[in-house]
């Protein structure tokens, strides 16, 4: 059976001698793995349309085990991002999270559109940390892990919410804090307010949110812990981004 779909390329790995095994994400079909044959040959026209974080129209043939990619056409290759190390790393980071969090063939159309929108924003405007945090939070929500940000998960109160319990999946008030000992992440009022704004914010709202450096740091830490808690794995690209950034321009050896 033949079909075609616009897809995001999550990753391509070497497969057999001249082939690539490509993991793609489609709005309609979810995450799929498909073989692109003869990709290392110079004449292959498929090669550029299966690079990580390309948006491509791919034609598939449903094989017995794996899909086969028969044709491809680039829709958007996010050229600005590809020319810039930081944007490249963050774009690949989005692909890594998708790779590690999506089940095969389970479409989540809202998440697909969120990813495409985030890749476009990164390409057009560069890295705004809040755009990345917005993606992380809303990805968790699309996957069914919506944090309870508006009331204490123990007593239901909405005052003095000061910590987040990973195990309970929500905020804890100062009064209930002593009774809940493990896995609490301290959260400032500013950080909590930004999280609430990020929930479902569109790009024009996102552009207007202001955050202090300490809130940004807390937010990044919180979302990293939150995703790792639910997805049960670390993300390599986060480490790579941390690793490569300080070494820019640094050289004594």
């Amino acid at each position: 059976m033949y079909y075609n779909a616009p897809v995001l390329i999550i990753k391509s790995i070497d497969f057999r001698e001249a082939d690539k095994l490509v993991t793609v994400y489609s709005e309609q079909y979810g995450k799929l793995r498909a073989v692109a044959r003869g990709i290392k040959k110079p004449k292959s026209s498929l090669r550029s349309s299966i690079q990580p974080f390309c948006y491509s129209q791919l034609h598939f043939y449903r094989g017995r085990d794996l899909e086969l990619i028969t044709q491809g056409k680039l829709l958007d290759f996010f050229g600005n991002s590809r020319e810039d190390l930081e944007r490249t790393l963050y774009s690949v980071y989005l692909m890594e999270i998708l790779d590690k969090s999506l089940m095969d063939r389970l479409p989540i159309p809202g998440l697909f559109r969120l990813t495409l929108q985030t890749l476009r924003t990164i390409n057009d405007n560069g890295i705004n940390p809040l755009v990345i945090r917005h993606f992380e939070l809303n990805l968790a929500i699309h996957l069914g892990y919506r944090p309870q940000l508006n009331q204490c998960v123990v007593c239901g109160g909405n005052q003095a919410l000061t910590g987040f319990s990973l195990a309970e999946g929500g905020m804890i008030c100062r009064g209930c804090l002593p009774a809940t000992s493990t896995g609490i992440i301290t959260m400032s009022g500013e950080c909590l307010a930004i999280l609430r704004q990020l929930e479902g914010a569109n790009s024009s709202v996102l552009a207007r949110i202001r955050a202090s450096a300490s809130a940004l740091k807390q937010l990044e830490y919180f979302l990293e812990q939150y995703l790792q808690y639910h997805l049960e794995r670390p993300f390599q690209l986060k480490q790579t981004i941390r690793y490569l950034k300080p070494s820019r321009g640094h050289v004594d050896n």
């Binding site: 004449k43 974080f53 680039l74 050229g79 690949v92 070494s247 321009g249």
Partner: protein, 197 residues
């Protein structure tokens, strides 16, 4: 029918090789059994010899049976140009072009999604060479994909304080190719790297 143990073992060993599936492994194993004994021994001995005698050159990383390797020992080479490649097979390809500089082979495939660990990349000998003052230009000959680009930028940053010129292979159209059928990424890079005629 159960296969003879040694035959089954041979098939299992061959299965470890890349691109070899169960059918191919079986065909190869049966073929080896039909060979004259001396030839089968030659194959086995060649594997053992290669494993025992070939190792990365301590200076450039090329696979060699004499250390330092023939390229490192070649006094005629232009010592001020250093070409960084991923594998010895890339060096073999570049040698065919008549390039006369020296090499640094990483012997390691770098994949962003598998994590980035500098220690795995063995860069100290490269840093030593860059700081020796003998190198004027470092040519980055890494694959033109995301992994190769990220690594190239990282290595370029490392070289910056040593006042070494850093270049990378041009991205462009394959010879005999057709502009009409080139993809946008390649064409954009080819335009950026355009030359005076």
């Amino acid at each position: 029918m159960r296969l003879a143990r040694p035959l089954e073992n041979l098939i299992n060993q061959l299965l470890k090789l890349p691109t070899i599936g169960p059918k191919t492994a079986q065909r190869l194993a049966l073929y080896i059994l039909k060979l004259p004994e001396s030839e089968a021994r030659q194959i086995a001995q060649a594997i053992i010899d290669a494993r025992e005698k070939v190792a990365p050159c301590s200076s450039c990383g090329c696979l060699t049976d004499v250390d330092p390797c023939a390229i490192c020992e070649d006094e005629e080479r232009e010592g001020h140009i250093l070409c960084v490649a991923e594998e010895t097979s890339d060096v073999i390809a570049i040698e065919r072009t008549g390039f006369r500089g020296r090499y640094y082979v990483l012997n390691k495939n770098f994949h962003l999604m598998d994590g980035f660990n500098l220690d795995d990349l063995h860069l100290q000998p490269l840093l030593d060479q860059l700081s020796s003052g003998k190198i004027q230009e470092m040519v980055l000959a890494l694959n033109p994909d995301i992994d190769g680009e990220v690594l190239s930028r990282y290595l370029a940053d490392l070289a910056k304080p040593h006042q070494v010129r850093v270049t990378r292979l041009a991205h462009g159209l394959p010879v005999g190719g057709d502009i009409e059928f080139a993809d946008e990424i390649t064409l954009r890079r080819a335009l950026e790297g355009r030359n005076d005629v």
